[in-house]
Amino acid sequence: MSLSAKLKYKFMKDYGAPALMSLQGLKRRRSRPTPSAFGPPLESNARLKEILTRHYYLSRFVPGVKKVAWVTSGAPVELLRVFDFYTIYPENHSALVGAKKQGAEYCGIAEGDSFSQDLCSYARIDLGHMLSGKSPAGKLPKPDLLFCSNNICQTVLYWYKAISQELDIPLIHFDAPFVSDRQSEADIRYMAQQLQDMIPILEQVSGNVFYMSDLEAVLKRSQDSSRTWGNILKAMQAKPAPMTIFDAFGHLAPIVSLRGLPVAQDYYNILAEEIDDRVSKGIGAIRDEKYRLIWDNIAIWYKVRYLATFFAERKMNFVTATYTNAWAETIDHLNIKDPWNSMARTYGQIILNNNLKHRLGLMRRMIDDFSVDGMVMHSTRSCKPYSVGQYDLRKAISTSLNLPSVIIDADIADERVWSEQQIQTRLEAFCESLEDTNRG
C-alpha cells in the first residue's frame, strides 16, 4: 500500500468528496420540477445522492489503498467487509447506465465485440464498460477480486467468468443450490463450508487477517440495515403510502451495495425517520392515492420516471414489489452466533433462488398486507430466473384473488427493447379494468 495513495485517498475522503457534494447541492437546486400528481418529494433523496456520488467518486482513489472487489448483488458481502475490500456492484452500475438511457450504447459496445444480444443487459452493459472504460460515474477502479454468487442467477457466474478471463483477476464463487422444495442439511453444510474455505483466499488477496469478532460486527450492522429497510417497506402499508416503489428502487442502492457498512445503517435510520413522519402526518407519495399496486420483477430503469408519472396521474401508486423486498426478506435467518450456517440460510433462500410456490405465497401475502388492488408484472428479456414462470404466477394470482393484472414485455436496462405504443395500450387497458372493478 503506497503512502501517497493513502494520503490522497484520505484527503479526498475528508475534503474532496465533501466539496463535490456541495457542488452537487448547487446543481440539485436547478433540477426538474415534480409533476403535480406527486406529493412532496422525500428529503432523504438528497442524502442518498450524496452517499452514492461519494462512493463512486472515492472509488477512483482507492487503488493502492484498499483492494477492490466487484461483487454481485446477492453475494454474502459481509465476508469481504471483514477484509476491508472496497466493493463495486456492476449490477448497480449497469442500472445507473440504464437509468441514464445509455444502456443501448454500452450494450452495443459489448455486441460489437461479438457478445450476443441475447445475454442479460446488465452483463452486456458491464462488459461494454469493461471494453471501453466508459462510465457515467466517471471511472470505476479495476477489481483485484471478483466475488459472485449464483443465488440470483447462473448468468452472473458466466459474466464474472468472462471478466475474470479478460482481466486475469481471481474469481471467488459462492455456489448456492436452488431451493426446489426446501433447503436440505446438505445444502446448508455445502454453503457454510464454501464460506469458510474462502477465508485463506481473502486473507491472501487483501493482506488482512480474519477475526471472527469483526465478522460478527459486520453481520450485526448488515442485519440492522436490512431490518430497517424492511420496516421502511412495511411502512408503505399505510394509506396513503409515504413513498412509491419507484422511490424505493432508488433507495434500495445502499442496502445492495453498501450493506454491512455504517453509512448504510445511518442512511436507513434517516430515511425511516422521514417515512414515519410522513405516515404520522398522512403525507402520501402521490397527491390522491386511490389504487394501490404491486410490481413484480426488476425496474425498467430507463422508464422509471415515465411509469411513475403515468400511474400517479391515474391516482395509482405502487406500494410494494417483490424486487425491493429481496434484501429484507430472509434477514431473520441470520444468527450472529452461528454465522456460517445462518448465512447459508439467509443467502440461499432469497427470492430468485427459491421456488415459484414460495414466490406465489409471498406475493399473495404482500397483496393482502399492502391492500393491493392490481398487479403489474414486468417480464424482462434479460432475466430468466425472474421471468420464467411469471405467466403462470399471474394466472394463479389473478384467478384466486380476482386481481386485475397486466404483463409488460420490456428490459431492465436495454432501452431498445421498449415498445412505447404497445406498452401504453396495455397499461391503459389495465387501468381501465382496474377502475371498472370499483376497487380503490
Binding site: 457478445f115 449464483n150 447462473q154 453444510r189 430468466k384 420464467v388 394463479a396
Partner: protein, 405 residues
C-alpha cells in the same frame, strides 16, 4: 487434485487409453456374436418407448442434461430424455416468453401433452436458469399427474466441498426415490454402474475411432447412434454400440474435418448436407454427447455410490457446469489436435446463455489459433434454410482454400 482437476489427465496426453479400450471392446464384441449386421438398426425413439411402456416398464421423463442415470436404472426406471421433441410449439407459448430457448419450450410442450409413456415422473436436473425455473413452474404452478423431481448439479470450480455435497445429494435422491419405488438394492446399483461403465468405455472408444476415421457411419448415423442413449435401456444400448464396426484401417480422407460443439448436434438436414458435401464431423463436444462421458477410463465400480460421485467430477468441462473458461479451451484444443479437424462448428441453441457466454471466449481464441469457425444458431426447427446452406457452403469453400475465417 484428482478427481477435481480431470483436465490434468488430458494434459498428460493419455486421453482414452486406446490399447486397453480396444482390447476390452474386442472381448465384448466377441461375446456378442459374429453375425453382426453391417447396417446399424437404431430403434425409433417413440416406437421404442411405446414398446417399453407396453411391457410395463417404468419410464421417467428427464430434462437435460446431467443426472445419475445408473441410479434410475437401479430402481428399474428407464430415463427418457426430453431434449427436442418434434412438432410445433403451441401449448408452451401460453406459459413461456418468446425469448426462452427452444429446448425449454419443446420440453414443456411435450409435458403439457401429458404423454402416456411417462408414468414414473419427471426429473429436472439443474442445468441453467431457464430449466431451473421450468422445473418449479411445472411442479408448483402448472401441475402434472406424475411426480416431479429435481436434482442440483454443483456449479463452478469444484473442490472438496462440491464432492461431499454431490455425494450427499445423490443419497438424498436415492432416499426420495425409495419412497415411491421401494428400497434400493445395492446389488442392482452395482450392476447398473457396471453396465454404465461398459457403455462409457465403448463410447470413449467410438469417439476415439471417430477422430481417427476408423468407422463407416455417416454423420447422421453417428449422431443417431449417440442420441439413442437418450431413450434406450442400458443393455440394449450397449448391444447397439457393440454392433458398430471399428475398422483396422483408416478410412478415405474426407473433404474437410469438423469438430462440432454446443448443446445438440446439428439437425438431420444439416448432417445430410455435410454428408453429401463429403465433410466429416470427426469430433464432438456436445452436452447431449461426449460431455456426458468421463474424460478418462474409470476403474471398475467397486463402491457404486463412490463411483457415481467420481464419474460426475470426471465429466469434461461444460458450460452448464460453469467451470473455468481456460480449462474448457484446453480441453477443446486437445480434441482439435487429436481429431486433426480443419474447422469448428458451433451449433448454438438460440437464447442459450451458458453457451453464448463461453462461446465468445472460445471463438475468439480459436480465431487467434487460426482455426476457421462457423457459428450456426438454431431454434431446432427441421430443415436446412437457404441462408444456412449458403453459409455452410461458404465456410467449406474457405476450408478448401485453407483460409482462416
Amino acid at each position: 487434485m484428482y478427481p477435481f482437476d480431470a483436465i490434468v489427465y488430458l494434459q498428460r496426453d493419455d486421453h482414452y487409453k486406446r490399447s486397453d479400450l480396444e482390447q476390452r471392446a474386442q472381448i465384448d464384441a466377441m461375446s456378442i456374436n459374429d453375425t453382426k449386421d453391417k447396417v446399424l438398426k437404431i430403434p425409433d425413439r417413440s416406437d421404442y418407448l411405446r414398446d417399453q411402456r407396453r411391457s410395463g416398464q417404468e419410464i421417467m421423463g428427464v430434462l437435460p442434461a446431467l443426472y445419475p442415470r445408473e441410479l434410475l436404472w437401479a430402481f428399474n426406471i428407464l430415463p427418457a430424455e426430453i431434449w427436442d421433441p418434434p412438432g410445433e410449439i403451441l401449448l408452451a407459448n401460453v406459459h413461456l416468453q418468446a425469448s426462452i430457448c427452444p429446448i425449454v419450450k419443446r420440453g414443456l410442450e411435450f409435458i403439457l401433452k401429458s404423454p402416456e409413456i411417462i408414468n414414473s415422473g419427471y426429473l429436472f436436473p439443474h442445468t441453467c436458469d431457464s430449466l431451473q425455473n421450468l422445473g418449479t413452474q411445472v411442479k408448483d404452478l402448472i401441475g402434472v399427474p406424475v411426480p416431479v423431481y429435481t436434482f442440483y448439479n454443483p456449479k463452478g470450480e469444484f473442490n472438496k466441498a462440491s464432492k461431499r455435497y454431490y455425494s450427499e445429494i445423490l443419497f438424498n435422491l436415492q432416499k426420495t426415490l425409495e419412497k415411491s419405488h421401494g428400497l434400493l438394492s445395492q446389488n442392482q446399483l452395482k450392476a447398473a454402474c457396471e453396465l454404465g461403465h461398459k457403455i462409457d468405455i465403448r463410447r470413449q472408444m467410438l469417439h476415439a475411432a471417430l477422430m481417427e476415421d476408423r468407422f463407416d457411419l455417416s454423420n447422421r448415423e453417428y449422431f443417431q447412434l449417440i442420441r439413442a442413449a437418450e431413450y434406450m435401456q442400458g443393455q440394449d444400448y450397449l448391444d447397439l454400440l457393440n454392433h458398430v464396426e471399428i475398422n483396422e484401417q483408416i478410412g478415405v480422407a474426407p473433404r474437410a474435418r469438423l469438430l462440432v460443439t454446443g448443446i445438440l448436434p446439428p439437425g438431420d438436414d444439416i448432417l445430410n448436407f455435410l454428408d453429401e458435401s463429403r465433410v466429416r464431423i470427426v469430433s464432438e463436444d456436445l452436452l447431449s454427447g461426449s460431455r456426458r462421458i468421463p474424460i478418462v477410463e474409470m476403474d471398475q465400480p467397486d463402491d457404486p455410490m463412490e463411483y457415481l460421485v467420481e464419474r460426475f467430477f470426471l465429466l469434461p468441462p461444460c458450460s452448464t457446469k460453469a467451470g473455468g473458461l481456460d480449462k474448457r479451451l484446453q480441453y477443446l484444443k486437445k480434441l482439435i489436435a487429436k481429431s486433426r479437424c480443419h474447422g469448428v462448428l458451433f451449433n448454438t441453441v438460440k437464447f442459450c446463455e451458458p453457451e453464448l457466454f463461453d462461446q465468445h471466449f472460445l471463438i475468439k481464441s480459436m480465431k487467434v489459433m487460426g482455426l476457421p469457425v462457423l457459428n450456426l444458431e438454431t431454434e431446432l426447427q427441421p430443415g436446412l434454410s437457404g441462408q444456412e446452406k449458403t453459409r455452410i457452403e461458404a465456410f467449406l469453400e474457405m476450408l478448401d482454400e485453407g483460409v482462416p475465417v
